[in-house]
Symmetry: C2
DNA sequence: TTTAACCTAACGACCGTTAGTTTGTTTTTG
DNA sequence: CAAAAACAAACTAACGGTCGTTAGGTTAAA
């Protein structure tokens, strides 16, 4: 009957909404229902707690993302990419893990900047490579504008980040409007005429 | 011989790199070369200092942006939009005001969330409207894909945020690659074939 | 002589962290 | 099988440090 997962969950939620410096161990302990020093039975320090939560989150999201991209059925690739963007946009509102991951990738704790980026960068680079490989498969490549699959992949992640940015400082509604507007533009831009 | 502007400059730099909670009045005072309580000769509280800096920054950036978009010479609009994106991307690296504005728009101090967003949202909404109006001018509108100027404007700000996102958690170099990749896609997507 | 801009000293609150203790469960042993 | 030992997970108390903030004094310009 250990509270370790509960501590990680509470830390995740508070880190996501208040940032690393803004979230205190006292508040984390409160929201679990334990005393502040009890956290040290499971984690050596606040940074240790943070890294543990961050790695766990990265691992989970990697799995989910992998399944979602792989499990592409046999629809046109752009439909799958649209669904993925819509899914991530929705998740930013509903899922604290997504908010946490995004916020900490943008602005990691200063003392852990290099370590966090050492974890985040491979994550996004691999996602980008997977996407490029998907677009290079010949049934997709023939439908692409002769600019190349890599260009289409880079453009996609850029558009995706733009939509997510609006989900962060705007709302799900305004982000949805952006996605609806940018998507036809993206498709005309990457698909063969 | 008042240090008020110096305090604002130091606060801006520290807020930009450490966030609101991460930047302490002590460090701000240190970097100005005064004592911490002296700040209270000019600002009623840390939040007051923040809001003062934030409003000043918003005002300045609004002017700069306005001039840059207006002063469009008579080149094709897409060239001006490209230059603007490149300019903002470079600025994120070189200009603390841009980093400050972007970071605080994404993740404002929790206690000031509503007030900050009440300032930020009109700023971006007006920028978006200006852009739409620019694209609606007939010499530009005739060159646009029949999806409309508003779609092209929304798509642009989305793409721009995507590039800036990479400037934040990546580097100027990787952001530049994104811009180079996404730009032909954007142009094919919004221009009449 | 008033006023503005700085100073020193100090406040209470909260921060992350450590030490040492209690408690209840699991494991080992007579 | 029951007693004893070991262990893990919580606790209380308190640490030194830093936080934002206030009170009150000094100095120099207006």
């Amino acid at each position: 009957m250990t509270r370790k997962p509960a501590i990680e969950d509470a830390a995740l939620a508070l880190f996501a909404s208040e940032g690393f410096e803004g979230a205190s161990l006292g508040r984390i302990a409160d929201s679990v229902g334990i005393r502040k020093p009890s956290i040290y039975a499971h984690f050596r320090s606040k940074e240790d707690l943070f890294l543990s939560v961050f790695k766990r989150t990265l691992r989970r999201k990697q799995q989910v993302l992998f399944r979602q991209v792989l499990h592409g059925a046999n629809r046109p690739f752009e439909d799958n990419l649209y669904d993925l963007a819509e899914h991530l946009m929705d998740e930013y509102e509903s899922d604290a893990e997504t908010r946490f991951l995004l916020r900490m990738s943008y602005f990691p704790p200063r003392s852990l900047h290099d370590e966090v980026m050492g974890l985040v960068n491979p994550f996004f680079e691999q996602a980008e490579r997977s996407l490029t490989r998907l677009l290079q498969r010949k049934e997709n490549a023939v439908r692409l504008h002769p600019g190349g699959a890599h260009e289409a992949a880079l453009a996609y992640v850029t558009v995706l980040d733009g939509v997510l940015a609006e989900a962060i400082y705007g709302s799900r509604d305004t982000a949805a409007k952006r996605l609806k507007a940018v998507w036809p533009v993206y498709c005309r831009g990457v698909l063969r005429p």
